[in-house]
């Protein structure tokens, strides 16, 4: 999986450079998020602007990250969801769990 990591202030931004986040590739994102939280990072923002499709495994990995963040009094926020990805969050009601922002800048302003 192609993930770019950058730091903006106290936030670590993970940009997923994949068209799909599914059972084939999502474990790599789970591993990367866990590595960051275990390394002491508290605030992670996942930028999904290039992800056109997400399946239940991809959603599960984000839930795992959310729980890992919460356990450490950190945050996992999401931004730049494409319409089909957003519809899967709504179908599974995960839009009520995550803080979801339209853009990276809007998400950064929330910290």
């Amino acid at each position: 999986m192609n993930i770019k990591t950058e730091t903006q202030g106290k936030v670590r931004i993970l940009t997923v450079h994949e068209e799909r986040l599914d059972a084939h590739n999502s474990e790599a994102l789970k591993t990367e998020m866990l590595r960051l939280f275990e390394g002491g990072v508290l605030n992670v923002l996942v930028d999904l602007k290039e992800v056109r499709f997400i399946d239940s495994s991809g959603l599960g990995v984000l839930v795992s990250g959310f729980k890992n963040a919460s356990t450490r009094q950190g945050t996992l926020k999401l931004c730049s969801l494409q319409s089909q990805v957003k519809s899967m969050f709504e179908l599974t009601r995960l839009h009520r769990v995550f803080d979801i922002f339209l853009t990276v800048d809007e998400a950064l302003d929330s910290y």
Binding site: E19, R20, D22, A23, H24, F53, D55, S56, S57, L59, G60, V61, V63, S64, F66, K67, Q84, S87, M88, L91, T92, R93, L94, R96, V97
Partner: protein
């Protein structure tokens, strides 16, 4: 019938084929001559259903056994789509997966069958020759 479509494809028991099968579903939605609804939405739904059904077959039914295969049939006729996904494993108990609506949002697993049930009109899982078949129908209104 003149406009009937039959597609059958067999892939190795590996998640790398999820994208291929999902794209077939998306492309089909653009080609259904009698469908008058939102083709992009239908394509996304077929992508999601095929992906979830394939993952169920690969991971849960076939137990990630790389020697096994998954066979997918898609049949469109008389305004209805039938998708069948055949595994060759010991299967899983669809009845044991509660049909009680949306799973707890904090569960990391268990959304696949819920997504399929939400996007298709009927879902059955039964024994078939040499394994099992997940059978999913959708009216193309």
């Amino acid at each position: 019938m003149k406009n009937d479509i039959d597609i059958e494809i067999t892939v190795p028991n590996h998640t790398r084929y999820l994208s291929l099968i999902g794209r077939i579903g998306e492309n089909m939605a653009q080609e259904l001559s009698s469908f008058t609804g939102d083709r992009d939405a239908l394509g996304h739904h077929l992508n999601a259903v095929l992906t979830e059904a394939l993952v169920n077959a690969i991971k849960h039914a076939n137990g990630t056994d790389s020697d096994k295969k998954v066979r997918i049939q898609i049949h469109v006729s008389n305004g209805e789509m039938m998708i069948r996904v055949f595994d060759s494993g010991k299967g899983f108990d669809l009845g044991s997966i509660a049909d009680s609506g949306c799973p707890d949002p904090l569960n990391e697993q268990g959304r696949g069958i819920y997504i399929i049930r939400s996007l298709m009109d009927s879902v059955e899982y039964r024994r078939a020759k040499g394994g099992n078949v997940l059978e999913m129908k959708k009216a193309l209104g």
